[in-house]
Symmetry: C2
Subunit: 412 residues, 2 copies
Amino acid sequence: MKYQDDPFKGNFDSLEEFADRISDLLQCPITIEDANHRLIAYSAHDDYTDPARTATIISRRVPEKVINSLWKKGVIPALLSSQEPLRIETISEVGLGNRVAVSIWKNQEVIGFIWALETDRTLSKDDLELLKKAAKAAKNKVLQLYMRKNKREERVQEFFWKLLTGHITANEEIKENFDFLQIPTAPLFSVFVFRFANDITSDIEKQISYILQTTQQIQVLLYTVDRSDFILLAAPKSTRQPLAECSQFIASFATKMKERFHIANIQSSFGGIYETFEYIEKSYKEALTVLSMKEKFPAQTASIYGYQQLGIYQFFDLLLEKKRQGELTNSTLAKLQAYDEKHHTNLIETFEVFFDHDSNVNETAKALNIHPNTLSYRLKRIAEIGEIDLHDMNQKVKLYIDIKLAKYEASH
Amino acid sequence: MKYQDDPFKGNFDSLEEFADRISDLLQCPITIEDANHRLIAYSAHDDYTDPARTATIISRRVPEKVINSLWKKGVIPALLSSQEPLRIETISEVGLGNRVAVSIWKNQEVIGFIWALETDRTLSKDDLELLKKAAKAAKNKVLQLYMRKNKREERVQEFFWKLLTGHITANEEIKENFDFLQIPTAPLFSVFVFRFANDITSDIEKQISYILQTTQQIQVLLYTVDRSDFILLAAPKSTRQPLAECSQFIASFATKMKERFHIANIQSSFGGIYETFEYIEKSYKEALTVLSMKEKFPAQTASIYGYQQLGIYQFFDLLLEKKRQGELTNSTLAKLQAYDEKHHTNLIETFEVFFDHDSNVNETAKALNIHPNTLSYRLKRIAEIGEIDLHDMNQKVKLYIDIKLAKYEASH
DNA sequence: ATTAGTTTTGTGGATTTCCACAAAATGAAG
DNA sequence: CTTCATTTTGTGGAAATCCACAAAACTAAT
């Protein structure tokens, strides 16, 4: 027998030592990650490592594109469903050389991975068996790590909730807590809310957490769960186009949840993007506002995620209330409504769609399935019947808002 | 001596009889009007009368175009400043033949006019002297008429104030009063407010009243004075384009006040146009709102008179309040402001003017004195720097409103 | 069924917008 | 003063808009 019965019996001071031990035995570079692909340990005295491993060690996490690639090739799903070591062929696009991987299990759950690079030699069947044993042996060490993390996690959670509910408002105090709990800080941040169809189980929470930990589109600062809401404090990477980054992140989050875990129908939003931490509560509330408006106006707000993009819907409830008090009557709207009613025309819808399409004749005509000239005729009629000057943006805006208000009231 | 000393010494039952008497003596058709050119009496047994007189008798008031013409020719001003009879040459454009006019005075005030048509014969110097005597003799009769009017006027005033302040709300009761006080009714009406630079003296009130009585653009129902405000309940003639009529009326009112009485700087407005009388109070309040917004936004609202045209300014105060509570922040605006500040650019102004000009590139460029391409370059920069999608009308509207809000706050 | 009024679609041409590209002009930083 | 980035202005061609006019389709009455 090449190896002794249990080569991992001894007590290791750290997981680094453990990694070195495996590396010695298998004669290849070893990397140990947690379930979220964060680096736990790696073997030190290796001559050659491929670009993927280098990047992983430098940033202490596996690069997102590597993870994406592994998901697409079915590697991760396979590791998540079997305790057997798995050989992965070179994926040169992401700088990944030949390697073998095995997952570390605790009961029915994967809590980490061990990667062995096949740089000089290809591992034998025995080697794979050994790797499997190593995975079993790593379990306890990794678990300890999780336990330490969990204790910290509890304090972090409590702190986050205080922030979200506005129970800590002094900027100094907030900063101290960030430092103490070793939460990274960022120049800009926003609160995201992902609302799921049902209450979030711990399984789902882990899946979300997995996606967040592996994404590099955005910097994750804090997150927590509130029934069916997953609440996240995160920071865009750049300060130049933060809004775009946040929107893209939401889109890709939804895609990943669907592709990887088959969870769809997530309503997502984020609040204002701010610089100082006092605004966390505000950003959270704004994110909730976005969700509630998305519920009220599914069609209009389908492509809206950020509070900023809510536009006029930000003060919609205010106007609605005023309207309910009998204010804000609009004679143009009344006349058009009367005309539509009497002659079975679509003047109001026409105007609304036209405005929604940025006064673009062609797009609007397509959206309404009418000839462009028909549109222009209708607009002429709208101006006549509604006594509105269609070159007066002020009046047009008012009419547009009043239409949206009326529409909402009619449907509720 | 052709005539006896005082041919008008006798007692006349009515002013009609009086008119006939003058007609007999001068051998020509006679018309008597009050100070506002409303028909009081006319001689009956005349063969020929010119079109202007016919129209006057039919509608019981002198046609507006005739009055306008007489003002332009200086006839009315002359009659208002002298007690002497005045000969007026034919003004064929308005169907006015040769005639002589004299004003009826009470103390320093003109209370009416007598017109003598020179159909068959031209009046001699003696005839003119007689006409002057007739004017003096008419004084008491006309005064009695005014007295009767004044009594009614008092009741009408009280009623109008009750309407304006919402002290009569039952439609039935309102209708009864309209009937009882013989106020004409109309299918549509609105409350107008003309705000003068100073408190309205009874002289000015008479001048306003004069213009109102002689205008035929709009049907005057009721009016009253409140310090520097002249408040008017009036009805547009047509039901198809009531807004346009009301606006035109305001414009022409201002012109006439300036041309005829040299009173400028009148702030004018009208409220919503309604069908039922319960809305008089509302319309009045709306007219006041328009005035207050015109005070706050002189430039933006210069061409706005109707509440309907106020557009977004209808709910401006509401938004302002919300903004003051720290809501409605707009990161796009903030970024643009910062950029403008730092680089001495005009991105915000550019957007505002562009939107004010209905997104018309050429007009906006002219208004800003820049090349159209410069405008489009700036818009591109606005989209980049402000992270705003300029095809998204919703966001544009929000930014536009936020700019107006910020502008207002900066200047107050 | 006919008719009058309204609405829709089509055609063509003048005007305007949009966009890419490039040359000036400007202005701030070294 | 030079340099570099930004802004402004200019040119030209493709695309879109606007507008007038007219035929066709549709609707609501008589």
